[in-house]
């Protein structure tokens, strides 16, 4: 049987991908950011997932404003990195797992989560930057990745509570899958940041720290935070953090914190990374 072994919360700042791709990891500005992820990669190597379900948001790359689906699931065999205006990132093609992905789709929809099924899609920095940070600069990603894009760009995104419940439904779906597989769920985006308007550059470390603490202290309560609180206190684009609740909902209530890293700034953003493991995994 498949089982979820761990969850990863990780920012997906595009400038981190650019710095990595341009060989700037040793620059004084970037070194502290990349140093923080060395331990993350060691833990990922220990966890050795067979598959990753990655929750992220598309930034106007695969989806225009023509269709704005709230929850999607990619069922393709592969997903090419998107050209976001400066050429595609030089990272491996993301391989999917159609059999597993279709199983998720079926189980989720029959359990009241009406996913949009995506047969063809390019993936942008939202998906590829966390993969680079957690797996390094590799020729091939170490396992298949199921993309799960969420609308957090056009208001209103799904509530934290709804996201947490989707995580719960993913947990159930994974446990119903007959193959033995170790599954890791990524929730990406955030942490505090605002990248538009006169209030650009807002960072709120207190808010971020409380959020990271809440993931193990009282995750159900954390998922009750309202959109307006994110937008006001964490900066408009910190609303991406709702996606972390999907990851958290997919784990056991008593999942443990295995690692945490936090750094300000990467470009306009507070970078956060947390690895949570289910009991008995590490």
């Amino acid at each position: 049987m498949a089982k979820i072994i761990a969850g990863v919360g990780c920012s997906h700042v595009p400038a981190i991908g650019a710095a990595l791709d341009q060989g700037k990891t040793e620059d004084p500005y970037w070194k502290p950011v990349f140093d923080g992820f060395v331990r993350s990669r060691e833990i990922m190597a220990q966890l050795k997932p067979d598959i990753v379900i990655e929750v992220y948001n598309d930034h106007g790359s695969a989806f225009s404003l023509q269709y704005i689906p709230t929850f999607c699931l990619g069922v393709a065999e592969e997903f090419q990195p998107a050209d976001e205006g400066w050429g595609p990132r030089p990272v491996p093609v993301v391989k999917g797992d159609p059999d597993f992905a279709w199983h998720l789709v079926e189980s989720l929809i029959l359990n009241e989560f009406d996913m949009t099924i995506v047969n063809e899609m390019e993936v942008d920095h939202g998906l590829t930057v966390p993969l680079s940070l957690m797996f390094g600069q590799v020729k091939e990603w170490p396992c298949p990745v199921i993309p799960l894009p969420v609308n957090v760009v056009t208001y209103p995104p799904p509530s934290g509570k709804r996201c947490f419940a989707l995580g719960r439904a993913i947990k159930k779906a994974v446990e119903e899958y007959p193959k033995d597989m170790r599954v890791v769920v990524f929730g990406t985006g955030g942490m505090s940041h605002q990248i538009h308007g006169e209030r650009c550059g807002l960072i709120n470390t207190k808010f971020d720290t409380a959020f990271l603490d809440g993931l193990t202290k009282d995750p159900q309560k954390l998922a009750q935070i309202e959109h307006k609180t994110y937008v006001t206190d964490g900066g408009a684009e910190s609303i991406e953090l709702v996606m972390w609740h999907i990851m958290r909902g997919a784990l056991e209530d008593n999942a443990k914190e295995a690692y945490r890293f936090y750094h300000v700034p990467a470009s306009n953003t507070a970078v956060g990374n947390i690895i949570l493991t289910n009991p008995g995994v590490l």
Partner: protein, 136 residues
């Protein structure tokens, strides 16, 4: 949960809501078209002619020609789309951010290295107005 109207008191913030999405639809579509290299070349070769293909308002068109990032946001542009125009025309995100914040690139960079813009005093327009009144 708050409806989008209830966000109006947050300073310097333009929620990409029902109004912005409707108002900025064609502007954002123009930006999205710049994801293709051929389109980027065509746009940079003759900006007015390329813009004729999209149903922009006069304000949106002028903001694009002026690379006025804040104005584009105010006219319904979404930052993730607008940043594709930034990338196409050689503006780093830092340059765009500094311009929207009304400061120099150097000041903006230093603010970020110093820990970013503080939340204190930046939560509410009403609070800011009361503070200003109190100081006067």
């Amino acid at each position: 949960m708050a409806k989008s109207e209830e966000y109006a008191d947050i300073p310097g913030t333009y929620l990409f809501d029902k109004r912005a999405c409707a108002k900025g639809y064609h502007l954002n579509n123009f930006c999205m078209s710049l994801m293709k290299e051929a389109n980027r070349k065509e746009f940079l070769g003759n900006e007015p002619a390329y813009l004729d293909k999209f149903k922009l308002t006069p304000e949106q068109r002028q903001a694009v020609l002026d690379r006025n990032w804040l104005k584009m946001i105010q006219e319904g542009g979404n930052i993730y789309y607008v940043s594709k125009l930034g990338a196409t025309s050689g503006f780093s995100f830092e340059m765009m951010a500094a311009s929207m914040a009304g400061t120099t690139r150097e000041n903006y960079r230093n603010m970020m290295i110093g820990g970013g813009r503080s939340i204190e005093g930046n939560r509410s327009k009403a609070e800011q107005a009361a503070q200003k009144k109190g100081n006067a």
